[in-house]
Every structure is written in structure tokens, then in C-alpha cells.
């Protein structure tokens, strides 16, 4: 793997030319049927949903969508979902469970939208419900962190049995800017924040938050995406085949997240 600083990887993860959810979907899946709408009154394009075939088998695909040009960026709110997006996700998760389809998710968001209407619509409740529902599915769930994994808005698509992450993707509790602004009241110290936040794929692999890291070519995935698509394809296929042997996938997922974060309670050491 290349020797970049955390701050350099943050820049790569946000590069507008970096392959997004739609690029992965079109290279990895066939027979794609796009599903829209939360059935409660709105369609949120910042969360993409589809039924498609992966290696010939039907799956449900869900991913954050940032858009490719300014017009699309505006439509997708730069990849920041509203509660309606998470409720669409929940609808598609229930459907995947009903029809026994594996779920593949692609994570690429700066975070859930911090706006007035999003709050009025219950952003917190929407994310919480996605977490709860995703944790309880009995079908396999494979998550790929492809770009920015920003906070609860990312996690709401990432309660997977397997978490795969691209080498230059990032995944963190908050953006480095937000982190610096909360801790030091100075968003300009974002690079410094990035260096201590443990947000790189290598850090997260070490912490047990992700299971596998996909290497990227020198300069990032957008320089030569083809080998990255191939590696992600292989990783998902392998994960699905391994998870096929698990008897209780909900229990498997529960135990996986249950084990995150060590504690101590002895009275002395």
C-alpha cells in the first residue's frame, strides 16, 4: 500500500473523479432495476437503491450517491441523505429480507444532512431505525466503504456481516473539519485532526472495524479504476460465499458489532 498521510487520503476520498456508487453498480452488476421513493411522500436521490444480479444471483443494492456534475450534486444534496432516504433504505431492506436477497451497500457520504427540514423529519429516528433494522436481517449484508464514511449517516448503511474498505477511503465519527471545530474550535486544523482520528483503512483494519482493505493504484482509484472494480467484485463474491456457510447471519452480525470496543472492569491491574 502507498505511503500517504491521513490528510492526503481524506483528499483522495473526496476527489470528485473518484468512482462512486453508480460506477461500482454499473461495473459489478447486471439486470439493474432502480427502486425509488420512501412510500411516505418523497424520493431522496442521495440514497440509490436497486435490485440487480451479482454473479447471476438477485441482490439488493443500496448506496450513497453524490452526483457527477453540479446539477446532480444539487439533486443528491452532495451525498447527504435526508430522513426520507433512510426510510427508502428501510423499505428496500425489508424487501430484501422478504425475498431472501443478499444486501450489498456502498458507503460514500460526508454525513446525514444537518438541515432544518431533516431535523423536523426525524433524522435521528430515521438513522436509528436503519441501524436496528439492518442489524436484524437474516440475509447476508456486505458493505463496501468506497469514499467518505461520514458519521451516523454512513453507519446507517454499514451494519454489515462483512465490511470491505478501499485503501484511500475514510471512515470516521465526524469529518476532520467538524472534529477540529469541536475539539479545538478551529476547523482549519482539519489535517491535524485527520492524523489522530484513526480514519484510514489501515487504522480501521487494525481496530477491527473493517475486515478487508482493497488496494488502489498509485494516485487513487480514479486513475485506473478497472483493477479496483475487479478486486471489489472478487471481495464481495468471496464474502457472500463465506457468509453462505453461516447458520445465523443476524447473530453473526450482532456478535461482530457487540465486540467493537474493549472495556475493563477489574478493580486493579
Amino acid at each position: 500500500m502507498s505511503n500517504l498521510t491521513a490528510a492526503q487520503r481524506v483528499k483522495l476520498a473526496r476527489d470528485p473523479g473518484r468512482p462512486g456508487t453508480l460506477d461500482f453498480v454499473h461495473h459489478l452488476f447486471t439486470d439493474i432495476f432502480v427502486c425509488q421513493g420512501d412510500r411516505l411522500g418523497r424520493e431522496d436521490p442521495s440514497i440509490y437503491g436497486a435490485i440487480a444480479r451479482f454473479h447471476g444471483k438477485p441482490v439488493t443494492v443500496i448506496g450513497h450517491r453524490k452526483g457527477r456534475n453540479f446539477e446532480e450534486n444539487m439533486k443528491c444534496n452532495f451525498g447527504m441523505p435526508s430522513p426520507e432516504g433512510y426510510r427508502k433504505e428501510q423499505r428496500l431492506l425489508r424487501q430484501a429480507e422478504k425475498f431472501g436477497r443478499p444486501v450489498i451497500t456502498f458507503v460514500d457520504t460526508p454525513g446525514a444532512y444537518p438541515g432544518l427540514e431533516a431535523e423536523a423529519g426525524g433524522q435521528g429516528e430515521a438513522i436509528a431505525s436503519s441501524l436496528a433494522l439492518m442489524s436484524s436481517l437474516t440475509v447476508p449484508v456486505v458493505t463496501v466503504v468506497i469514499g467518505e464514511g461520514g458519521s451516523g449517516g454512513a453507519l446507517a448503511l454499514a451494519v454489515g456481516n462483512r465490511i470491505i474498505m478501499l485503501e484511500n477511503a475514510i471512515y470516521s465519527v465526524l469529518s476532520p473539519e467538524g472534529f477540529a471545530s469541536i475539539l479545538w474550535k478551529d476547523a482549519a486544523r482539519a489535517d491535524e485532526a485527520a492524523s489522530i482520528m484513526k480514519l484510514t483503512a489501515a487504522d480501521l483494519l487494525r481496530l477491527g472495524v473493517v475486515d478487508q482493505v482493497i488496494p488502489e493504484p498509485e494516485g487513487g482509484a480514479h486513475v485506473d479504476p478497472r483493477p479496483v472494480y475487479e478486486a471489489v467484485d472478487k471481495a464481495i463474491a468471496r464474502a457472500l460465499s463465506q457468509l453462505g456457510k453461516e447458520k445465523d447471519l443476524a447473530a453473526h452480525r450482532y456478535q461482530k458489532f457487540r465486540a467493537m470496543g474493549a472495556v475493563r472492569e477489574e478493580r486493579d491491574t
Binding site: 433524522q123 441501524l131 436496528a132 453507519l155 454499514a158 472495524v209 457487540r258 486493579d268
Partner: protein
Amino acid sequence: MQPLFRSRRDRLDRLRRQREDAVKAAAQHSDLPAGGSQTCPGCGRECQNQDLVKTEYVCPHCGYHLPIGAYLRLSLLLDPFTFQELWPELTAPNALEFPGYEQKLTAQREKTALSDAAVVATGKLDGRQAVFAVLDSRFFMGSMGVAVGEKITRGVEYAQKHKLPLVIFSASGGARMQEGILSLMQMAKTSAAIERFSEAGGLYISVFTHPTTGGVTASFASLGDITLAEPGALIGFAGPRVIQQTIGQELPEGFQRSEYLEEHGFVDQIVPRRQMRQVLSQLLFLHRKGVMHR
């Protein structure tokens, strides 16, 4: 003042003594000094501490609900002599090796006599046994790191195992920044535990208190069968300052307060502190036959 602890044992012994004192003090409703007064953040008027003890720390002038600590909260709810704290010694290491975090934790423990921001206990309310978890906003703003996530999860699992109803009082600034990604993972962990408990037929009553934001709002606090809130509590996912910076306009009066959430359909009822015990009692009895029948 003793500047540093000689060992972990010293520190924990001292913590335990402090905690026992806090429980005793809370049981007598005197977390605050008996004399003196403080300014109400709601109306700005002076409140005598001796009056606040009687009003359960609700401003006698304007009804503002002052934030209260976890032990005091429990002492207001539980039947006498039924309080039994679970996993009081549980803490989390500085897994991300965040600079200066241990020193900050030590300072917070000294100040509050808490081991971390959550207290989990079992006890009786009007004779009904239940599991109670309370976040304490005095400790790192009630933020959820690994210790809080683990205690909440264990509390849920304990309630499921012993077929008990679960009541959680939230007060939190969200995720514990110093524990980074591991804090974020506690959202998934606690939500998964609540979901399992729910599937098993368990009753979970969630109570929002001032303030509850971020990762706690976006996980277990929003997953109650019944959702209550204290009056005037700030409840939201994003904090008001972040929203204001994002949208670049003034926020409407009362935005993200309990009453706003009630209006938008995210809270069953707003319950004043002095009626909380009675309402919880009613709910526990209404679910007497319904809890864990599956």
C-alpha cells in the same frame, strides 16, 4: 488536593467511595450544597437550593428543568432500598491513544464521582422491578464512548435475560470524540441490542432529557416503544450551531425542543419531572402482562 493517584487500585477505591457518597447524597436529594442559591438558566431568577431540592430541581419561578445527575435521577424514581447498580467499575481504555484523553477522564472522574457517563441499575418503581439506565450530562457532556455503549448494551441484555422492562433516560452531546470510530460503532451495537430485546417482546421506555443530540438521538434513544421527554429539552441529530452554519439562517423559536418534537410526531408525551414517576408507574403496570410473553 491529592494531585495524582498512586495506582489504578487507589483511583478505583477513591472513585467507589466518592460514588457511595454521591448515592447517599442523592438519596437525601442534596446533590447541591444545602444552603446558597443558583441562577435559573430559563428565567435568570435566583433559586434557593433548599427550594430546588423540594421541587426536584425544577425552577419554582418558570418551571425550567435543571439538568440533574444520574444518581439523583434514580433516587427520584426508585422505591427506597431497591437500588442496585450494575457494572459500576466498567470503564474503557484509550483505544485510539488520543492525546491527553486519560488525563481528561481522570479529571472528569474527580469532578463527578462517576466512572463514565452512564449509570445502569436495577430496582423497583412502585413495586415493579425494572432495569434503569441514565446518562449523566456532567461527565463529558454525557457523550457515548465504548463504556457508555457497553453499559447500555449490557443493560438491555440483562433486561432481556431477566424478562424485565427497560427505562433509559438520555442526556448526551452525542458520540465521544476522543474514542472516534469506536464511539460510532456503539450506535450500531446499542441499536442492535434494543432491536433484539424488542423482538423478544421486551418493553423499552425512552426518556429524552436536556440535551440529547447526535449519536444517542440517532441510536437507542429513538427506538423506544414509548418515547417521553422532559419539557423544554433540546433534542436533535445535528446541533443547532451546525444547522445554522449549514443553512445560513436563523432557526425558528423553539426549534428542536421537546414541544417541537411532539408536534412533529416523535414523542408520545412530554412529562414534567414531578410527574415522571407516576407516568412510568402507569406504563409499567399497563404492560404488566405484555412484557416478555413471547
